[in-house]
Point group: C2
Chain length 247, copies 2
DNA sequence: CGGGAGATTGATAGGAATCAAGCAACGTGG
DNA sequence: CCACGTTGCTTGATTCCTATCAATCTCCCG
């Protein structure tokens, strides 16, 4: 029989034993500090594909770290236009935009069945006062988000369709690779339309550009399955443009 | 004679007596807390028009708050393409992107003779541990920057030239207005090319679009001098798009 | 006064959006 | 298990917006 049925606590995932710890948390925390975190962080809320983690306008209480799965965040304009502001995989934090007004500024939607940790912000804030490295870590995470946004601005402001898509694929590739997945063979979790929204393109343009890349032998596309055959060719396309951030 | 020549200290501007305090700092600080800040914040570095406050790649030590004047921040790609990531006026903070890697991620350049306060970050960080409202204030400032960046993404990803320029002018207008300047009559501190870089447009398009607005009677343009004659018309253009943030 | 940077305006070209049609995969229900 | 409708994707034809190329023009500054 399954032990887990008898000792459900043995299943409990804590920060202390989380394999993503080095992505979410500062290094060098003491055992004591880790258990303080474990006491505050609510583990493993599960979401099904398509489910909202939070919506723009909802009260902000917590940040969320992706444990497993895949999310998109997006802002919508009154007339219904949607701008995807990011895609988020394991170890990445969502909700930072909610701190400023105590209200979430974007929607966060699971693109596959997913699991998140909830970080109640005000308690993290007080904990940060006791654990300086934690405080610093949060400043760094927010700063990294700002840097990421700047590189998206560069992409949207300066690059043409081919460059945008190449940069996007390479960025995905590098983030997957740093999580132990294959860098050159992966499944897109999002639709062409969502890619287009993120890149400031229409879905037809995304589709056409993928086909063009495939035709040149740079990659192969089978629906959502992407194989990068000549990542160097893609890199050459975006070379000169600022590099995609690696996390 | 001028008193200031004899009592230069009477000129010293501190956070305690700074008129921009409500923009830079949390409200409700005690006299004691303010003097702690005064001890840390280095007042009034002066820059001439065109001067760099910091450059991308330089070591990061401090944040900078604009006291007077006007700045642009920009990121550059290897092949020389420049993306202006923001314009900054009094009370606004620059350098937040440097925290993540301890290196400045963008250039900051004065667009007119300017004055900034320097906030040594690590000392602000420790001060934040003693003054929770200060710590929270910094989180909020960074979050606000993220929200701002998201709205720029929406602008670059979804809007067309006229909408971008209208949103830009209204955003400037509202920020100037909240600082006590006229909302409908102001001087552009940046060139057409810099506006274009920020908005993802070429300078010719900026110029043409301004002319178009003027021709419709929505505003008048005299070089850098802009008068909004029918701000409602501009608002109508961007209505449906997400509103420009007010600070 | 002259040179040059910045801005305006015009003509043309090019890239992505739009409109449209057809296809493939998936899930549901008969 | 298969028909069928739905959804997402691909591909083609055309249009539209903005970039590009080019010619002036104005103002500022030395």
């Amino acid at each position: 029989m399954n032990d887990q049925l008898f000792h459900p606590h043995s299943l409990k995932v804590t920060c202390s034993n989380c394999s993503l710890r080095e992505l979410c948390l500062p290094v060098g925390l003491s055992r004591e500090e880790l258990s303080q975190l474990d006491a505050v962080i609510r583990q493993s809320r599960r979401l099904k594909r398509g489910e909202y983690l939070f919506r723009s306008g909802e009260g902000f209480r917590s940040l969320f770290a992706v444990r497993t799965g895949f999310f998109k965040t997006s802002v919508a304009s009154q007339d219904g236009r949607e701008q995807v502001t990011g895609f988020h995989m394991s170890g990445e934090l969502m909700g930072l935009d909610g701190i400023s007004a105590n209200v979430h500024g974007c929607d966060a939607i699971a693109l596959e069945d997913s699991e998140v940790c909830e970080l109640p912000f005000s308690r993290m804030e007080s904990l940060g006062r006791e654990i300086p490295s934690l405080q610093h870590h949060f400043y760094r995470l927010m700063s990294r988000e700002i840097v990421r946004d700047q590189s998206v601005m560069l992409l949207l402001g300066n690059m043409k369709a081919e460059e945008r898509l190449a940069a996007f694929l390479l960025n995905l590739s590098s983030r997957l690779s740093s999580r132990g997945f294959s860098a050159n063979d992966f499944i897109l979790r999002m639709s062409r339309e969502e890619i287009g929204s993120f890149l400031g393109l229409k879905l037809e343009t995304v589709s056409r550009t993928l086909s063009k890349f495939a035709q040149q032998g740079w990659l192969s596309v089978d629906h959502k399955h992407i194989k990068l055959e000549q990542p160097e060719a893609l890199k050459a396309l975006v070379s000169g443009c600022s590099q995609a951030p690696s996390v």
